[in-house]
Symmetry: C2
Subunit: 335 residues, 2 copies
């Protein structure tokens, strides 16, 4: 008794900004689970900026998506039937089998989620307690080396990662300056404790950041690259740490944009600029779950969600990441 599942496939590789036409929806029959396998129905899936990189056919830290095959990404769902004694129907599980409604997987490929114990929603495991939250928590501590009193500048601050960084920085006693693309987003960030906000779509970015951080910055959390990175170099204090999480502003460039014109500041100001991928900091996983889990449960960390409904709208959700369509975590509800 096979299960029908709709899935989103990459139809062609985008050049420049991705469009709906680069994706297609197909229906497939998911077979019954074999020995040791589990049938899962996804409830939520994640769309993330890094997925743009997997749409290029080039060597990278994750292999490229294949044309005509379902895309992949984080998803949470519930077990329907299980041939693995470790999983029972109704269990919440996390996998990289997003962009589809249902799937069969071997038990060890699934990560059982303690939804009830955590006191949060299942989809929080795709956000504040998932990859974005862990990205924020691990790199902010490991690369940022924050001290109370540090001034922290966060770009893409209203996103899932950026908004977590802002709040973790406040919990560590830092002053936080957030950049986002609308006054509404900045309003939410101020409501959760950010000290100053800069709307990067209004006026001169450098002047606005200088006004918000008149003494300069000690930590820059970079989600966007481009002009923000140049501005951060300009206002950096000596020994500033630059956490290079992403450069969404250039992901869709068809020819490579020049880098910052003020690179020599890296020498003169003794700046440390370091890239990472969340999996580099797996050794901090237990610390992350313990501390971030408590903050989430206690309301010390807050989060927003922007939700599209139905797997057929997953491309729309993904495209929205590049036009600033989300406040907080961008999700697709599949259940």
């Amino acid at each position: 008794m096979a299960t029908t599942s709709r899935e989103v496939r990459l139809k062609s590789r985008p050049v420049g900004i991705p469009e709906a036409a680069h994706f297609e929806v197909a229906s497939v029959q998911v077979p019954d689970p074999g020995a040791g396998e589990v049938l899962v129905r996804n409830a939520w899936m994640s769309v993330d900026p890094y997925m743009r990189g997997r749409m290029y056919d080039r060597p990278s830290y994750v292999p490229p998506f294949q044309i005509g095959a379902a895309l992949q990404g984080g998803a949470v769902g519930q077990v329907v039937t299980s041939n693995d004694p470790k999983f029972q129907p109704g269990d919440w599980v996390e996998s990289m089998n997003g962009w589809r409604e249902a799937y069969v997987a071997a038990g060890p490929a699934l990560n059982k989620l303690p939804v009830a114990e955590a006191g949060v929603t299942p989809q929080a495991f795709l956000g504040v307690l998932g990859m974005p939250g862990m990205t924020a928590y691990t790199s902010f501590h490991r690369i940022g080396e924050p001290k109370a009193g540090d001034v922290v500048f966060v770009s893409g601050a209203a996103g899932a990662v950026g908004s977590a960084v802002c709040q973790i920085a406040k919990l560590r006693g830092c002053t936080v300056v957030a950049s986002a693309g609308s006054d509404e987003k900045l309003g939410w960030l101020k409501a959760v404790g950010v000290d100053a906000g800069v709307n990067y779509k209004k006026g001169n970015l450098l002047e606005n950041v200088r006004a918000a951080a008149p003494k300069g910055i000690d930590i820059y959390f970079d989600n966007v690259g481009g002009e923000h990175l140049e501005v951060a170099l300009e206002v950096a204090r000596p020994f500033a740490r630059f956490i290079e999480c992403g450069m969404i502003s250039v992901y869709n460039d068809t020819s490579p944009a020049p880098g910052p014109r003020n690179m020599p500041y890296i020498v003169g100001k003794r700046i440390k600029m370091q890239g990472f991928i969340v999996s580099d900091f797996m050794d901090m996983r237990e610390h992350f779950y313990a501390e971030m889990g408590a903050w989430a449960r206690n309301g010390q960390i807050k989060w927003e969600e922007t939700v599209e409904n139905g797997v057929e709208n997953a491309p729309k959700a993904f495209l929205g990441l590049f036009s600033g369509g989300n406040t907080g975590k961008m999700l697709v509800k599949l259940g």
Copy 2:
């Protein structure tokens, strides 16, 4: 009985490439030393790329040179007369009172040099056992975190700092690829152990570095910035360390040049790029003197000198740094 000393002054601030006309030579009368003071006659002075930065009138980690005043920089000389019991006539001392033939200073401002014990020439304390050697030694270990087998790419490799880095890297079991501006310089670097050389004035830099380091690089020691930095990002392996010592290629730019077009590699390849100033690593000073001193005495580290004679030729020596006029340490003999 005052002493006559010629000194070089900054006549006007260079815009773009400095020229002889930006400097002037003047004669001054150095007074007899007062209580606790020492009269020193310089034997050697250093010219270094960082001095270009002090010719701009801007805030930096060292104050700008003043128009009409003698320039400053590393120098070694011998005590003539001393009113400080710690110094005897004939003692070798180091100071920041370069660009002049003689001077009077308070005893505590002088650093006595163990020339005889070190078994090297006095001017080695301006090179391999001085600021350039310490710059190379400290940052290579502290930022580069070298492991045997690492591939190390060094730009400006024939200079005082670069050539020390190349040889320290070989002593640590690394493979070394050196970039310099002439086949003669590369010939010397190969004679002291470098594995492969790239003449950046010939052909395509990226192709030549790829050919010299087909498996990529783990450490980049950056003296020049600009195109070399972009090439290093291109060939970097995951987790590469970029030691940002200087960016001489852009020091004379009148409008800021764009940075590397491939900055997103910092994220994807998890690169650490870190600037420094040698004084940041003063805690390694004893380690440096002990290990580098032994290497220098035993002939495990070799060095070259390019020498101009007479204080009136100090500007010429300085200008030569920007046209690749030196192999090894650029010095001016004053004695």
